[in-house]
């Protein structure tokens, strides 16, 4: 994997309003942010460099969040943020690669706390 740090946070979500508003909030909080519109975009981006935290939606076209996780041997700190629960077979297969899971809609302050916790974890 490329060691170039692309940004603090990679926001992966096919829902454009969600993706852009989240990115806006994170940028306003001082984080550098890159965006990907689906799982395949995210994998392509991660080919070119690394991020500290990946905010990952689950249901997306081309590649789902779960498939992204399955494709990555050592993913960044992953916060799943989805309209669907993360459980069952998905959780069993890629649960160990996930830092936390948030159900949409997530209160922005809670989101910022989670991002902070994930970044702090990386620092340790």
């Amino acid at each position: 994997m490329n060691s170039v740090l692309l940004a603090d946070v990679l926001v992966v979500d096919d829902e454009e309003p969600v993706r852009t508003s989240v990115a806006e909030i994170l940028r306003a909080a001082g984080y550098s942010v890159v965006e990907a519109a689906d799982g395949q975009d995210a994998l392509d981006l991660l080919e070119s460099g690394s991020v500290t935290v990946m905010l990952l939606d689950i249901r997306m076209p081309r590649r789902t969040g779960i498939e992204v996780l399955q494709a990555l041997d050592s993913p960044p700190n992953v916060i799943l943020m989805s309209a669907y629960r993360f459980e069952g077979e998905d959780k069993r297969s890629v649960g160990h690669k996930v830092f936390s899971h948030l159900m949409k809609p997530v209160a922005p302050r809670q989101l910022l706390d989670e991002i902070k916790a994930a970044i702090n974890r990386e620092d340790r």
Binding site: V18, S21, V22, A83, Y84, R85, G88, M103, K104, P105
Partner: protein
């Protein structure tokens, strides 16, 4: 259990009619048999009387011959005796006597037999007989009897104060055939002399059983100028055999027919009633099967509708989340941009937007929770601990009191889901008492079950509402998705338990959840 035979009214009426008809028939037939018997007896008795009359009439004609001889011989005693008793033998008790009137009495002139001697003055019945004949011609005198033998007396007047008197003795119970002939073998006969029949004027009788038993017939026997009486009854009924049994046969047959008819009617009626009850029973069975079928069908339709509704709910629940997330974020960004100094109007409507977005988020949660198949993550749950956790996570309104009665015990289940169940029930109880009240929360374990009861002191639920409380999307609250109890029921059922809601005696609603304890085997 003994079944008593209690015949129906129709049976009784028909039975009674047949019995009455047969009893009536019995009397009618019996009367006719009696009449026939009487007629036959009467006719035979008359014949017997005629025979007796001719027999004893021959005695009177014999006397008339005696009188003629007396006249012809100028009352020669020797000629008289020779005529009346040519053989010269005398029989005890029999006497033929020629008498002559002297003064007020009669003196014997000549006599056959030893009973009377010439010169003897007549007395008693003999005198009475001669006197009576003097006035009327040939006649019979008194008949006298001592029960064993009887005496018959006859007399005929001859001119010149003369009279012929005859008396003879016969045993009372002489074989009747030797006296009257055997034409009346079937008759018991008693022949009495003049005057009312009695034992003292009985001449002969063919039976010892006197007076003769009824039915008996009597006839008058004319002996010269006097009248004897013959009484007879039948030794065996003239109307015999089948004819005399007729009335009885009719009666017995009638009663038997009544019995058979009654039994038949009753049997038929019973069978009919049984068949009817069978039909009723089967109809009820059929109806209940039909209603069960209808219920099953309704349940299937409901299930079908629910699964369609559930699918839609799930889709809506999930699809709402992205726009909600975007709106939540947008509001946050706008708020940040506007800074701290907000106009009251902006602040008011921003918080309204936030509040309503949260509500929509709760709805989305409920919608997805309702249809989501959830895995049971089982662990040993301490019941008092669970209750405490639920109560502390569900802040109680100020005016609500909580009455706890929790027994220390434990069960195996999904702690999160069971907490959700209890939270929901406790929240419902709080909401049922907007003006405050008491929530009674009970929990105990027994016989392999853990039972939780949550009872409020609110005003209860209408029956029509009660039937639908577990239906998804059914709610009586102003703000509510109507999914709470539906989700609770699913969770309880997933644990193999049951939930029921009822109006408690106190007036409020009591929810009861019974769950299997299922302790894990150690190890």
């Amino acid at each position: 259990m003994s079944r008593r035979w209690r015949p129906g009214s129709v049976t009784l009426v028909i039975g009674a009619v047949i019995v009455l008809l047969s009893v009536g028939g019995y009397f009618l037939l019996q009367h006719s048999v009696d009449q026939q018997e009487t007629a036959l007896l009467s006719s035979n008795t008359t014949d017997a009387g005629a025979d007796a009359s001719s027999l004893f009439g021959s005695i009177t004609s014999g006397l008339s011959s005696d009188a003629a001889v007396v006249k012809l011989t100028n009352a020669n005693p020797t000629a008289f005796v020779n005529f009346v008793n040519p053989s010269g033998k005398s029989t005890a008790g029999d006497a033929n006597v020629l008498v002559r009137k002297e003064g007020a009495g009669y003196v014997v002139v000549a006599s056959s037999g030893s009973s009377y001697k010439p010169g003897q003055i007549l007395t008693g019945p003999a005198l009475a007989t001669v006197r009576s004949a003097a006035g009327t011609g040939v006649t019979s005198g008194p008949v006298t009897s001592n029960g064993k033998v009887s005496y018959a007396r006859f007399a005929v007047p001859v001119s010149g104060g003369l009279a012929v008197y005859e008396e003879f003795m016969i045993p009372v119970h002489l074989n009747i055939a030797t006296v009257i002939g055997n034409a009346f073998n079937n008759l018991n006969v008693a022949l009495y002399g003049p005057g009312p029949p009695s034992s003292s004027n009985l001449l002969i009788a063919s039976t010892n059983a006197l007076p003769l038993a009824k039915p008996a017939a009597r006839t008058t026997v004319h002996i010269g100028a006097s009248r004897w009486t013959l009484i007879a009854n039948a030794r065996s009924p003239y109307v015999s055999g089948l004819a005399s049994s007729g009335p009885w046969i009719l009666l017995v047959m009638g009663l038997l027919i009544a019995l058979v008819v009654m039994i038949t009617i009753e049997t038929v009626q019973r069978r009919q009633r049984y068949a009817q009850s069978l039909v009723t029973e089967r109809t009820a069975d059929l109806n209940s099967s039909l209603s069960e079928l209808k219920e099953t069908q309704d349940a299937l339709v409901r299930q079908e509708r629910l699964s369609a509704v559930g699918e839609m709910a799930s889709v809506i629940g999930h699809e709402l989340r992205n726009p909600l997330a975007a709106v939540t974020n947008a509001l946050f960004i706008v708020q940040g941009d506007l800074g701290q100094e907000l106009s009251p109007t902006t602040e008011k409507y921003l918080s309204m937007a936030e509040r309503e977005t949260s509500k929509a988020a709760v709805l989305a949660d409920d919608l997805t929770a309702f249809v989501r198949p959830r895995e049971l993550v089982e662990s040993e749950i301490d019941v008092p601990g669970l209750v405490e956790e639920v109560l502390s996570a569900t802040p109680q309104p100020d005016d609500v009191r909580i009455d706890l009665e929790v027994a220390p015990c434990s069960l195996v289940g999904d702690r999160g889901q069971l907490a959700e169940v209890l939270t929901n029930l406790v929240t419902n109880a709080y909401q049922a008492m907007p003006d405050g009240g008491t929530v009674r929360l009970g929990a105990f374990c027994s016989n392999g079950s853990a039972t939780f009861t949550v009872e409020d002191s609110g005003s209860g639920i209408k029956d029509t509402t009660m039937q639908r409380v577990f239906e998804p999307f059914f709610t009586t609250k102003d703000s509510g998705t109507g999914l709470g109890l539906a989700i609770v029921q699913r969770l309880v059922q997933a644990h193999g338990g049951q939930i029921s809601l009822e109006n408690a005696a106190s007036g409020g609603v009591r929810a009861t959840v019974v769950l299997p304890v299922k302790h894990k085997v150690a190890g």
